[in-house]
């Protein structure tokens, strides 16, 4: 094993990370002197991720970039790893740890952007219901908080957020149940990438597509289709492709001794974008090109 190894560890299996993987693949083509790995943990728990990192270090990996399921509480594990190899965070940060830098978006800002979509779409206010995978996960908490902050005083209220533990059937039936039990709901927010498609299908089945304002996160094909059709008010997308692509270059440079890529505050923010009917086609074309290439 002569080539230095760089690893990108994600928090759970999901399509979202396919884009990051595409970015890593692109980077691999440009970094022939390195061996790039893209690792999914067996399950989305911090304990398994940290064990995975320990194993990677033991197996001779030279630098790691991780999207932790629970960064706040993995600080010791991070420090343990960071003592041996350069460690970067992505997607969700642990600023108190000895990680070298964070590369990713700000979930709070993304939540604010979603709230702004809602405010624009519902000038008269409304009552929203949120749907998410893990209620306790950092990215969920930050997005929800950002959304709440943005809609404050606009007459829009986020009544409750239902969790589904990433069980798609349950994600769908949560929407069904809300439609049955809360007829006063006028807007729905899907915080995880698979939530908006479930909202779309439930609304379609109930014949309420268009009647309820939907604000989405991420770029599931169904979400984008609904945005194009105008059935969804808009979606907030991150840029995981860049995380993978830039992240690998960042680590490679760092190992070569070039530390100019790391800003003083250690935060490299890749901005999130609002996608609505006006820019959805361009965005989708870009996506296709990236995954295809």
């Amino acid at each position: 094993q002569d080539k230095p190894q760089l690893a990108f560890v994600v928090n759970a299996a999901s399509d979202f990370w396919k884009l990051a993987e595409a970015g890593v693949k692109k980077a691999q083509g440009e970094l022939p002197g390195y061996e790039l790995q893209f690792r999914y943990p067996a399950q989305g728990t911090a304990a398994l991720q940290n064990a995975l990192m320990d194993d990677l270090v033991a197996a001779g990996t030279d630098a790691i970039m991780i999207s932790s399921a629970d960064p706040k509480n993995s600080i010791d594990a991070f420090n343990r790893v960071a003592a041996q190899v350069p460690l970067f965070t992505t997607d969700s940060d642990a600023p108190a740890s000895k990680r070298i830098a964070y590369l990713g978006s700000s979930n709070t800002l993304a939540g604010v952007q979603a709230g702004e979509i809602a405010v624009a779409a519902m000038p008269k206010g409304g009552k929203c219901m949120g749907f998410v995978g893990f209620l306790g996960a950092d990215n969920a908490i930050e997005r929800i908080a950002g959304f709440r902050k943005a809609v404050e005083g606009s007459g829009i209220e986020l009544a409750d957020v239902r969790g589904d533990d990433v069980d798609f059937a349950r994600a769908r039936s949560n929407v069904d149940d809300v439609l049955a039990a809360n007829p006063d709901i006028t807007c729905m927010v899907g915080f995880y990438s698979y939530n908006p498609p479930k909202i779309y299908e439930a609304l379609q089945a109930a014949g309420k597509l268009g009647a309820i304002t939907v604000i989405a996160f991420d770029e599931d094909p169904i979400t984008l289709g609904a945005v194009r059709e105008g059935k969804f008010a808009g979606t907030v997308v991150q840029d995981p492709y860049q995380w993978g692509y830039q992240g690998m270059h960042l680590m490679a440079k760092y190992l070569e001794g070039d530390k100019s890529g790391v800003p003083a505050d250690g935060l490299i923010i890749v901005p999130t974008k609002v996608i609505n009917a006006s820019n959805v086609d361009a965005f989708e074309a870009e996506l296709k090109e990236r995954i295809g290439g």
Partner: protein, 342 residues
């Protein structure tokens, strides 16, 4: 209907009544339809699990099988354009083969069902994840398969077709388990495999058949689930569903030691589980308490049912003695005072 089933039905009605009083929308057609759909989905493979548990075995692989077959089905139909009836047949054929493999490993190679199907749980999900490379298998946006959708997620008279499917399959399975020669053999094998073999029953065949039935029903459920979620994320799709199925069967009166249980029971078990899921959303209980509520209701329900039955058995025995004492002259002493001891 057995007494056990009756107890469960009463529990379902009581829970339903309580929920209705707190939120009358519980009985709204929309909500009933949604719940019926889920009952249909979960009921399908819970019935299958019932056959396996009847043999004294267990099938831990159903959740993973639903994920693997779901991925295969969605990919065949959505990606490779295989006509959906062919895709369904392929999925059922794969299910049959997997069930056959379980059965043969258990009967011919004498492995423990728990081990075999635990390995199935690990392998099938692993294969599904490896095959898609962790990606979600989904239909392209806007893709429509009217006939398939009518069959799986359509409704007639407001009742979802998944529910009809469960009812039809349930009725067939009821005849199979409770009225057919095969069903009798299955029960005998579950209660005492040796005695069944000494009576000329092909125990290996019977047990294997149970695993095949379970896998085939699971394959059917996998198609329904895939159409319901319209996309299958291999790492999470169907997670823990084996526990649901086993719980439905056990609630419905199946004994994990084998030989006991009824189709009506397992269907009622599936109904109760879905009712409890529904209740949490309808009453606006925080999602985090979902599981706690479910566990508490199951525990108290089973407990109440059991204590009631024990009380009844005691009363009957006491009655028999009383009748006896009244008939015969007076026994030496008045033992009536000791009645409570038994």
């Amino acid at each position: 209907m057995h007494k056990k089933d009756l107890g469960l039905a009463v529990l379902i009605i009581i829970v339903g009544a309580v929920v209705y009083l707190r939120n009358p929308l519980f009985l709204s057609p929309i909500n009933l339809g949604n719940t019926a759909n889920l009952i249909g989905l979960f009921g399908l493979f819970a019935i299958g699990q019932g056959f396996v548990i009847m043999t004294g075995g267990i099938d831990l692989s159903v959740g993973s099988m639903i994920a693997l077959l779901g991925v295969i089905f969605v990919d065949m139909v959505g990606k490779f354009g295989v006509p959906w009836p062919v895709a369904i047949l392929v999925v059922i054929a794969i299910g049959t083969l997997l069930g056959l493999a379980h059965g043969i490993l258990i009967t011919k190679l004498r492995m423990q069902p728990f081990v075999v199907t635990l390995c199935g749980l690990l392998i099938y999900r692993g294969v599904a994840r490896g095959y898609t490379g962790e990606a979600t298998a989904g239909f392209p946006f806007g893709a429509h398969y009217p006939a398939l959708e009518w069959l799986t997620i359509g409704r007639s008279f407001g009742v979802p077709h998944s529910f009809y499917a469960m009812i039809i399959i349930g009725v067939v399975c009821w005849f199979l388990l409770h009225r057919s020669v095969f069903g009798r053999h299955l029960q005998a094998v579950g209660k005492n495999e040796d005695a069944a073999r000494y009576s000329g029953i092909r125990t290996g065949f019977v047990i294997t058949a149970a695993y095949v039935i379970c896998a085939v029903l699971t394959a059917v459920a996998a198609v329904y689930f895939a159409m319901f979620t319209r996309s299958v994320q291999p790492s999470s799709h169907g997670n823990f569903y084996e526990l649901y199925a086993i719980a439905a069967a056990v609630l419905g009166g199946f004994s994990l030691r084998g030989g006991e249980g009824s189709i009506i029971g397992v269907v009622l078990g599936a109904v109760l589980l879905q009712e409890l899921q529904n209740l949490v959303n309808l009453l606006g209980i925080p999602s985090s308490l979902n599981f706690a509520v479910m566990g508490a209701v199951i525990l108290s329900g089973v407990l109440a049912d059991q204590q009631f039955n024990r009380y009844r058995a005691k009363r009957r025995a006491a009655n028999a003695i009383r009748v006896l004492n009244r008939k015969g002259s007076t026994p030496r002493q008045a033992p009536a005072t000791t009645d409570e001891i038994g």
